[in-house]
């Protein structure tokens, strides 16, 4: 059997990679994808912890998180579309009407 800790390490790596990518990528859609990566990393951690404690609660929580991710995807993509219709761009640098 693979030790649970391996999964936890993998989840930490994926989480940080997601955050890293959010920072270096420059288009809105991919940045949003990075957030999905981070959420998935958290899912992996939940399931690994659930396994190590032999309980099912972690898995239930993952179901909720997937629902949240779906809801976020719907609203988020709608917002990105809205912005794209106005500016004809999804470069994140172009979103700087307000500052200071």
């Amino acid at each position: 059997m693979v030790p649970t800790s391996y999964f936890i390490i993998l989840s930490a790596i994926l989480f940080v990679l997601g955050a890293f990518a959010f920072f270096v990528k420059r288009d809105l859609i991919t940045q949003f994808l990075c957030i999905e990566v981070m959420l998935s990393a958290a899912n992996l951690a939940f399931i690994a912890f659930a396994k190590s404690a032999s309980s099912l609660d972690g898995q239930i929580i993952v179901i909720f998180i997937i629902t949240v991710a779906a809801a976020e995807a719907a609203v988020g993509l709608a917002i990105i579309l809205l912005v794209y219709r106005q500016k004809k761009t999804i470069k994140s640098e172009d979103m700087n009407l307000m500052k200071g």
Binding site: A19, V68, L97
Partner: protein
């Protein structure tokens, strides 16, 4: 049957929201104010149910639903907020080309998310409530669909908000790994003694604080606030400045109140929040000094107020925190209502220059706005003075003298930018014509109510303090 009773407030809101949605599609009417009235009726029914449950301490669904007086107090504060926001939106929507009936439904749904959050002691439920609130907030921020700023505000709020909730979820995962549960009580139990998992627990708690720190906009998680506040429709900005903050703080109280009592090493979290609070007060007020856009300035001011509220969290004095929120509700909504009052068809007056001479041209609006600004600045005899006073005096009792000194100095700085608006209103010649639409009875009602609230709380705070005392004494926090 009883569990259904406890869910009445929530169910009322959802039924109200669905009704508004259905009416919006089935009845085609240009004038959407009837939807506002419907949602106000439902809000009042919801408030009625909250008052009914006062003192009964419902607890159902494995404590997922936990209606103690603390939760009910915040629920009522939030319901009042939503009623006032609905009232100030009515005319605004048709004037500013945002005439969508779903607006009111989304407000109700956002409120239901907040009620879920304040009346639960389980982090996963709180997280789901937070997402309900967030989704509706993102949408509401972007509702001025022709306005690029509004869309940009929605985008920034959404991307950064989801980013923050990813951290929150990871923090929840760590806490779950430690305690194998998401119930606050169980989680806090694991802080009682040091173990090999302590680091994980603290990191998890830290990430959860980051997640809520984003919602309440404390430094350094505040960066989104000014942009979103500026871009969102003004009534929604008023809503953002109170609703999410109130629930964020309510959750922090639920989380930290037991934590301070049992944790073997609460010092580290304490000093961390100390730093955050000091930074928030200083930076919020300093940047606000240079703003010329009123909404942006109020955004920074709301960041600074989050700093004062953090002081209340640190001094573990829940009653001063609650009192502050009641006052903050009236003075901030009042200030935004005054800002909204200065608008006409397709035009809002938001720059400082627009306010020159307003005090004489529109004496009532000018005078009430001035009272709200005095209150925000903390002048007696307004509620703002007492609120700040309670928070700081509680902090002094707990020995947080240096933090209070920072707070007092920071709020002295803040007086400058609040008063600058008053100076513009009363002591500058107008540079250009400002004419506004005055046919807005609902807005003036709100101005009056907020004025009454601010003064009543500043001069005769006795009754509300009594209620707060009841609410606080009933906090068992499981």
């Amino acid at each position: 049957m009883n569990s259904l009773n406890a869910m009445f407030p929530l169910l009322t809101l959802i039924v109200g929201a669905l009704l508004v949605l259905i009416l919006e599609v089935s009845i085609k009417r240009e004038n959407k104010t009837y939807l506002a009235f419907i949602s106000i009726i439902f809000l009042m029914i919801c408030g009625f149910f909250c008052v009914q449950s006062w003192g009964k301490d419902f607890s159902y669904f494995n404590n997922h639903l936990y209606l103690d007086n603390f939760a009910l107090f915040f629920s009522i504060v939030l319901i009042i907020t939503t009623i006032l926001v609905t009232l100030i939106s009515m005319k605004y929507l048709s004037l500013q080309n945002t005439n969508v009936g779903e607006y009111y439904a989304l407000l109700l749904l956002a409120l239901s998310g907040m009620l879920i959050m304040v009346s639960s002691s389980d982090l996963i439920v709180i997280f789901l409530g937070l997402e309900v609130l967030s989704m509706s907030s993102y949408t509401l921020a972007g509702l001025k669909r022709d306005d690029q700023k509004s869309s940009e505000a929605a985008l920034k709020y959404f991307l950064l908000g989801s980013f923050a909730s990813a951290f929150l979820v990871y923090g929840l995962a760590l806490l779950y790994g430690v305690s194998n549960s998401t119930s606050i009580a169980v989680i806090i139990d694991h802080f009682k003694t040091e173990s090999s998992l302590s680091f994980m627990a603290f990191a998890g708690l830290g990430l959860v604080i980051v997640g809520f720190g984003f919602k309440i906009a404390v430094v350094p998680f505040h960066m989104w606030t000014p942009d979103v506040y500026q871009g969102a429709p003004t009534p929604i900005t008023a809503f953002f400045s109170i609703g999410p903050k109130a629930v964020g703080f309510a959750v922090l109280v639920r989380l930290l109140y037991p934590f301070w009592h049992v944790a073997y090493d609460s010092e580290v979290i304490f000093s961390l929040l100390w730093i955050i609070s000091a930074l928030t007060m200083i930076i919020g007020n300093l940047i606000a000094l240079r703003q010329t856009n009123i909404k942006r300035m109020l955004a920074y001011s709301s960041i600074a107020h989050a700093g004062y509220l953090m002081v209340a969290i640190l001094s573990q004095d829940t009653s001063s925190l609650m009192f502050y929120f009641v006052v903050y509700l009236f003075m901030n909504i009042g200030a935004f209502a005054a800002v909204i009052a200065l608008g006409k068809k397709d035009k809002e007056y938001l720059e400082l220059d627009d306010y020159a001479g307003i005090g004489f041209k529109y004496p009532w609006i000018g005078a009430t706005f001035a009272v709200f600004l005095f209150s925000l600045a903390g002048f007696p005899p307004t509620g703002g003075f007492l609120a700040k006073f309670y928070v700081f005096s509680a902090a002094v009792r707990e020995g947080l003298v240096s933090l209070v000194i920072i707070g007092v100095l920071a709020s002295l700085v803040s007086v400058y930018y609040y008063l600058r608006i008053i100076v513009y209103m009363y002591m500058r010649e107008p540079t250009h014509e400002v004419d506004i639409n005055l046919e807005n009875p609902a807005l003036f009602l709100v101005l009056f109510l907020c004025l009454y609230g601010v003064l009543q709380l500043g001069i005769f705070p006795g009754n509300i303090l009594l209620i707060i005392k009841q609410a606080v004494s009933s906090i068992a926090f499981l």
